[in-house]
């Protein structure tokens, strides 16, 4: 029984994740008075990339070829930890903290692969990604601690049940929202839409990839985004996983999609080193969440 649920959950993540990116992009374009691409465009891109031949640099080693698979499996593993149909299907395997380090594993391999080809953009992207992640991870950890203090366990399944929304959850959700912007390479930290190779962070690491490998990397990014959206949703709009949940599930994710789109069109991207201030603020918010949890509000 459990295995069926796990498979169902993986399929759900793979199938729905690109749609969220499509929705954000469509919304952004509509706000900018543009028609925008179809919300299914990310699917078309993936189909196109999966059917394309791959070009691999002559100087690349096995790491370059292996990295997309590592990243993809890391994201799938992370997806199984999230409570969707039932309380976290693989909660015996790992808790909330594991999630952070599964993300880190994917990122580590992406950075290695970016350095592997020896292109200057890959190196720049990898160094920037590491700089940003060194700021993201402490804040993420603090968010987890605040949840841990609130629920008495780092087990995600506990957090998956319906719970009253506290001040702590709301503050933690804001911190997590800022972390999500950084983790999904969105404005003000990074810019997914840019064509300027010198300003890229995440995109610069993926510049050397093509075909199936690129498709896997993109799909991983979509899945990561969906995981983070789910976590924020569960913090501020908690729901029990049984009962009539599909509408409610979609509605709360939509709220986050709208919020992300609004932020992305209403601010400019920050100077690279100013990102430290932004994520520092996320860290402080997470700290406040911890304090709230201790105080029990």
């Amino acid at each position: 029984m459990e295995i069926i649920i796990i498979i169902a959950q993986l399929i759900l993540f793979i199938v729905i994740a690109p749609l969220l990116s499509g929705l954000v992009s469509k919304l952004k374009n509509n706000i900018r008075m543009r028609k925008g691409q179809s919300i299914f465009q990310p699917y078309y891109n993936l189909i196109k990339l999966f059917s394309k031949e791959e070009v691999v640099s002559e100087t690349a080693s096995w790491i370059f070829k292996a990295a997309p698979f590592v990243v993809f499996s890391a994201m799938l593993t992370a997806a199984t930890l999230i409570p969707v149909f039932i309380a976290s299907p693989l909660h015996r395997m790992g808790d909330f903290l594991a999630l952070i380090f599964i993300f880190a594993l994917g990122r580590f391999f992406m950075a290695l692969a970016a350095l592997d080809t020896g292109s200057s953009f890959g190196g720049m992207g990898a160094s920037r990604e590491m700089f940003i992640s060194s700021l993201v991870e402490p804040a993420f950890c603090l968010v987890v601690f605040s949840i841990f203090l609130q629920f008495g366990s780092t087990d995600i399944s506990v957090f998956g049940a319906a719970h009253p929304v506290s001040v702590c959850s709301i503050v933690a959700a804001f911190a997590l929202f800022m972390i999500t912007l950084a983790e999904t390479s969105r404005i003000p930290v990074d810019n997914q839409e840019t064509h300027l190779e010198l300003t890229m962070v995440h995109e610069a690491m993926a510049l050397e990839y093509s075909g199936r490998s690129l498709a896997l990397i993109e799909l991983s990014a979509h899945i990561k985004q969906m995981i983070l959206f789910f976590l924020i949703a569960q913090l501020v709009f908690p729901v029990n996983f049984c009962g009539f949940w599909i509408l409610w599930y979609s509605a709360r994710i939509m709220v986050i999609v709208i919020a992300v789109a609004l932020v992305e069109v209403s601010v400019a991207k920050m100077r690279l080193f100013r990102v430290a201030d932004f994520l520092g603020f996320a860290f402080v918010l997470a700290m406040i969440a911890v304090v709230c949890a201790v105080l029990g509000v």
Binding site: M33, M124, R128, H195, L196, S266, A268, R271, L272
Partner: protein, 525 residues
């Protein structure tokens, strides 16, 4: 008038100065002919007297006619609204002259160009690498602007040597000439210590089409279309500068109707490019809402251009002796109505930008080009005005702008914000100017006269949106062009970019680059 008094001033600097000849063919041009021995000193003296960087320095192949090469060096005298040309003849055997580059940096690129195109050696020039003809594919000792050049002969090929910065933790980042976005081809070689840029070396010339050679032996009329294609986003300014030169040579006086119409079109070109540049700055900092708004305004101006002239980019509008597209009463109403809307939309755009903290944080103090650096490099136009150089041909050389009470934009700080502010105030000023010009349009007067063909040479100029566009044209009695030297403002301003980015971080380079918004085609010719 004017002539002797400038000679007296030069004599103050060089006591034994004797010019071979002083000519004044046009009210706004003085030509001082000197011997090769005093050429350098005369140029340096004028450089000091006029506070002018060299505006153009170029050679002519006169071997068939007079058995020599001629070198001309043009300086601008804003105070008296005129151009001063110093020229000399140098013998055709083993040609060379004393380099000015070490005493006057702005001559440096022009001298490299002369060396590359004519094989005339600037003696003592510290850097004679190729500018446009890349020696990986173009054999040395092929000088395409010499008259006897037909096609490239095989010869030595060699690699280009970039200047190297060495030291612990210094990395080289080569970018281009193929870029991820749809922009022109240019190679940028950064030396970085982490993210901060220690040195930037530009290598351009990938879009070299041999434009100056293409002008040779063309008829006046055929060449107007060619001048429009030199730099696509300034096609009107280029054709205006070219037709101006031809009109000076042929002694054609332009009907006032045409003068005002040209003013209107020149400002329309400025407007669509400025709003495009503002949108580009917003795009490059990832601020997509105003970027989209700016593109809407740009499109409205392009559509207005099309409605007035039949061409969105104002090509096939200008001609020798006037303009082809007249603005009648109905079109005038369309124009004035559109300007009103554009003003309102533009002010809205400016409000969005200025009220965004995240945007202002990105542009403020980014990519500073100091005034002293800008002056030494000979930076012109919009970029110069943002760094505090008060130079605008419209203010000093044009009657209709004086009449309309033209106010020159000026900023001191020289950063991206200053360049943005200059664009904004120029856009607003252009709206006002167009209204002024439109009010003076005359229903009955013709917008064009027929010119006569004459031999001669003259300098034509126009203040395009980037800065002054210069065309020095020499024609023979049959109306065939012998030599056409083009100076696009991009040529001098690219050097400014290389200095403005120093100390900035690599991810800010695209922003600095966009705030300069220079042309590859205009530079590469």
């Amino acid at each position: 008038m004017g002539g002797p008094e400038i000679i007296a001033e030069i004599k103050n600097k060089i006591p034994d100065f004797v010019p071979l000849a002083v000519l004044q063919n046009y009210p706004d041009e003085i030509n001082i002919k000197v011997s090769p021995q005093v050429f350098k000193d005369t140029c340096l003296a004028l450089h000091k007297i006029l506070f002018s960087a060299v505006a153009a320095l170029f050679a002519l192949d006169e071997r068939k006619e007079r058995g020599c090469f001629e070198i001309n060096s043009i300086f601008v005298d804003f105070k008296n609204s005129r151009w001063i040309t110093v020229s000399m003849d140098i013998p055709q055997e083993n040609p060379g002259f004393d380099s000015l580059a070490k005493s006057m940096y702005s001559a440096s690129l022009f001298e490299r160009e002369i060396w590359e195109m004519f094989g005339i050696q600037p003696k003592g020039h510290p850097d004679l690498r190729g500018l446009r003809l890349h020696n990986e594919v173009w054999a040395k000792e092929n000088y395409p602007l010499r008259k006897d050049f037909r096609k490239m002969q095989s010869g030595n090929l060699s690699d280009y040597k970039f200047s190297r910065v060495e030291g612990d933790g210094i990395f080289e980042v080569p970018v281009g000439p193929v870029h991820a976005g749809i922009i022109g081809p240019g190679h940028f070689r950064f030396s970085v210590a982490g993210e901060p840029i220690i040195n930037l070396e530009l290598r351009l010339g990938f879009a070299h089409r041999g434009v100056e050679k293409l002008f040779e032996d063309k008829l006046y009329y055929d060449a107007v279309g060619l001048s429009e294609c030199v730099c696509g986003d300034s096609s009107f300014a280029h054709s205006l500068a070219f037709t101006h030169a031809i009109e000076k040579i042929s002694g054609t006086s332009i009907p006032m109707q045409a003068v005002y119409l040209r003013g209107v079109f020149l400002e329309l070109e400025r407007m669509y490019n400025h709003v495009n540049g503002i949108g580009g700055i917003a795009t490059d900092v990832g601020f997509s809402f105003p970027a989209a708004y700016a593109s809407i305004i740009k499109e409205a101006i392009l559509q207005l251009n099309a409605r007035l002239t039949g061409n969105r980019y104002l090509k096939k509008v200008n001609t020798i002796g006037g303009v082809l597209a007249d603005i009648d009463e109905t079109k005038k109403q369309v124009l004035l109505g559109s300007i009103k809307h554009l003003k309102r939309d533009f002010n809205e755009l400016v409000k969005i930008l200025y009220s965004s903290v995240s945007f202002m944080d990105r542009v403020d103090t980014t990519g500073v080009l100091r005034r002293k650096t800008a002056e030494d490099l000979g930076v012109v136009g919009l970029i110069g005005r943002a760094s505090g150089i008060p130079a605008d041909l419209r203010k000093y050389f044009s009657g209709i702008y004086k009449e309309a009470g033209f106010k020159m934009a000026s900023q001191e700080s020289g950063d991206v914000l200053a360049r943005l502010r200059v664009r904004i105030s120029e856009f607003q000023e252009s709206c006002r100017l167009i209204e002024e010009f439109a009010a003076r349009l005359n229903k009955v007067e013709k917008s064009r006269v027929e010119p006569e063909l004459k031999a001669g040479s003259a300098l034509g100029y126009a203040e395009g949106w980037r800065g002054p566009v210069l065309y020095w044209v020499k024609a023979d009695p049959a109306g065939l062009i012998q030599r056409c030297k083009i100076v696009d403002p991009s040529f001098l301003n690219w050097q400014g970019l290389a200095y403005a980015v120093l100390g900035n971080i690599i991810p800010d380079f695209p922003l600095c680059n966009k705030s300069f918004d220079l042309s590859y085609a205009g530079n590469d010719l």
